[in-house]
């Protein structure tokens, strides 16, 4: 449980998510790493170059850390959840509280995670669809509605000449492993307590 919760702290060092954009002219794809406290380019000038390309289709520039409340809130939430997990873990270890709190933490974290994903997706929708009406290149779908350049939340999508791949990154995987470990902790706790009762 404690290890699982501490793995969340990996998010402070490693990106949660990664979006890569490859195209014929970009054999070395451009990429952005999404950290809980901001977005950084995979290579030094990737963000500048993505913004440079996006201006043709009227997308807003990639937000700086101070332009989105999420980037100041997420680190606090993650740190808080990690600490809460450690406390629950310690109390559980010393038998002060039931193993069921482990599951509680997991469920709470899952809800927060889903909310986070929902928020992230909303941002992607806005980022990809809320375009400058004076955009240089305006592409419409066959039904006449403006094309959205929303990157996929997870997986692969073709956007004009770009192949866009969006996947969790190291920090994200550490979080998933951590959360799984808390489930394991819950299961172990349950097994032990069942043995005791029999």
């Amino acid at each position: 449980m404690i290890i699982g919760a501490l793995l969340l702290l990996g998010l402070f060092k490693f990106p949660l998510w990664n979006i890569m954009l490859g195209a014929p002219q970009y054999p070395d794809p451009l990429g952005m790493n999404i950290y809980i406290d901001g977005i950084q380019g995979v290579s030094e000038f990737d963000l500048q170059n993505i913004d440079g390309l996006n201006h043709y289709i009227g997308m807003k520039t990639i937000p700086k850390a101070h332009e989105m409340w999420e980037f100041s809130m997420f680190p606090k939430v993650i740190f808080g959840m990690a600490m809460l997990g450690v406390i629950i873990g310690l109390l559980g270890y010393f038998g002060k509280i039931s193993y069921k709190y482990f599951l509680g933490w997991f469920l709470f974290m899952s809800v927060l995670g889903i909310l986070g994903m929902y928020d992230f997706n909303n941002w992607l929708v806005d980022y990809g669809g809320n375009l400058d009406p004076h955009a240089i290149i305006k592409v419409t779908k066959p039904d006449g509605t403006p094309m959205s350049y929303k990157p996929p939340l997870i997986g692969f999508k073709k956007l004009l000449n770009f192949d866009v791949t969006s996947l969790p990154h190291a920090g994200g995987y550490l979080m998933f492993i951590g959360m799984s470990l808390t489930l394991v902790a819950f299961w172990l706790g349950r097994k032990t307590s069942l043995k005791k009762t029999t």
Partner: protein, 656 residues
Amino acid sequence: MKNLIKSTLTVLGVLVAFTSCNNSGNSGKKSGALASNVAEKVYVAPGEYDSHYAFLSGGYSGNVTVYGLPSGRMFKEIPVFSQFPTSGYGYSEETKPMLNTSHGFIPWGDAHHPDISQSKGELDGRWLFINENNTPRIARLSLTTFETEEIIEVPNSAGNHSSSFVTENTEYVVAGTRFSVPIPQRDMPIKDYKGNFKGALSFISVDPEEGHMDIKFQILMPGFNYDLSHPGRGKSHGWFFFTTYNTEEASTLLEVNASQNDKDFIAAINWKKIEEYVNNGGGTMMPANYAHNVYDEETHTATSTMKKEVRVVNPAEVPGAVYFIPTPKSPHGCDVDPSGEYIVGNGKLSANLTVHSFTKMLDAIENEKFAGEAYGIPILNFEDVLAGVVEQPGLGPLHTEFDGKGNAYTTFFISSEVVKWKLGTWEVVDRKPTYYSVGHLTIPGGNSGKPQGKYMFAMNKITKDRYLPTGPEMEHSAQLYDISGDKMELLLDFPTHGEPHYAAAMEAGIIKAQSQKIYKLADNKHPYAAKSDDDTKVVREGKEVHIYMTTIRSHFSPDNIEGVKVGDKVYFHVTNLEQDFDVPHGFAVIGQNNSELLVMPGQTKTSVWEPKQVGVWPFYCTDFCSALHQEMQGYIRVSAADSDTPIKWSLGEDIE
């Protein structure tokens, strides 16, 4: 699928090879050895890389061309000694100082012998040096930016031909004089050449960190012609060897008068001894006037400084530093094998190839076995120093390179062939024709202690029927051979640009990894750089108008400019804001008596325009930079000289 394409193309390649072989008649049949796998050996599939870089001198183009081996594809022309309108080199305000000399601005040069910098006797891929023969200069090119970074003029020299070869730790790049001259230059009868003219051998120190060049000393040698040179290496590190001809000291009809002596000399210079002499205050500072031009990567600007003195050394005053080794018949190439033991004198009018022994030379010097002296310089006995003779290998030997496996390869201009022979036994083991009249040859790492085998290419002076004819003037031709087996195998013909006297080549790894993609805008210290659209402005200073302009896909900022008048001198300072690999922008304005600018990401370049007519004149981006390249344009309004149109500029809105 990839394999299918590859094999199909290979088959096509082979068919083409055979077809062209049949079409080229006699010369093709002579090459004969086109085995069925030859096409595969030079085929580099689309998107794949060559294994070697080759830097070929552009000869009278004044520049350097970059090729890939084994494909023979040209990747880039790097301007060095000649103006290059493609990029604006020698036209832009920043690069004009690169071509400054004691004779003023010179738009052209004759580039000869490139050499890659070395550490511990191996190529380190940091810099490329190359000499200019006509107005003696040495240039240093960066092999991270592939740009010319520095040019130093060599005073007291003429026909800067036995240059620009580096010692095994790039302590020095060395430049010798082919045409001896009065030193110092003065008004005197030409017929008084003998005994009065001198040949300067210049040792130019190279700063180990930045590469900056400085003439440490010049040895004022007798008035012979110092034709080519190479450094000692390994055991002979600390020595430098120069071939000489015209030891007759003729000043007219040299083709006859300089061919009379049975033997000329190889001058053996113990530069470590002279360095020590100079470090202890030896030699004299002599008044001189020569340009030292340095390009700064951060200001993107070159500065030219005139240097006013140079240290000269009289070789007769440094005992034990200089010796003459008799070598038959006007030797041309002077080549030292990877171990440093053998010094090959390619006597161009001799039937045999002479090889001297460094060990024997030291022995003769120690025992003071001298045959005489010339101008106070001891002459050794030919027989005492001789290591061996390659008997009757061909006609007109010029240059020799080594494969590091005990073999030497010598070019023969007159019999038009490359001959492979063994060091030590001096036996000829193979010969292959070249097309035609080969000058230099290059083995990657050839001038180093560690040649990188596998390939050798011959650079020929005469092309004739090798390619589709292009009128009287043809590019020269080169042939690539595989030298990994016992016998040389002709792989490829490829045209070369200008006259590639010599080339330096090396395995691609080091250079490929360090090749720079962009210049960082944050590091740009150009005094007229505009690093964002907010920095753009137009400033009038009397008759000069400075336009601080930026480019980014796909606009100039500003793109509307007013207030310029006829008679003004307009400076377009163009900064490319891009920080993306291979996204240059170009700049040209109508009626400009100048070249275009090609501005790399993060770089600032300046073009001067002196408008002579009233009107509204467009400028535009010359490099198809983006989908909206055709929209990348602007207007500059030119008013009458006595008008009072105020200076104004804008982007995206009308000038108010």
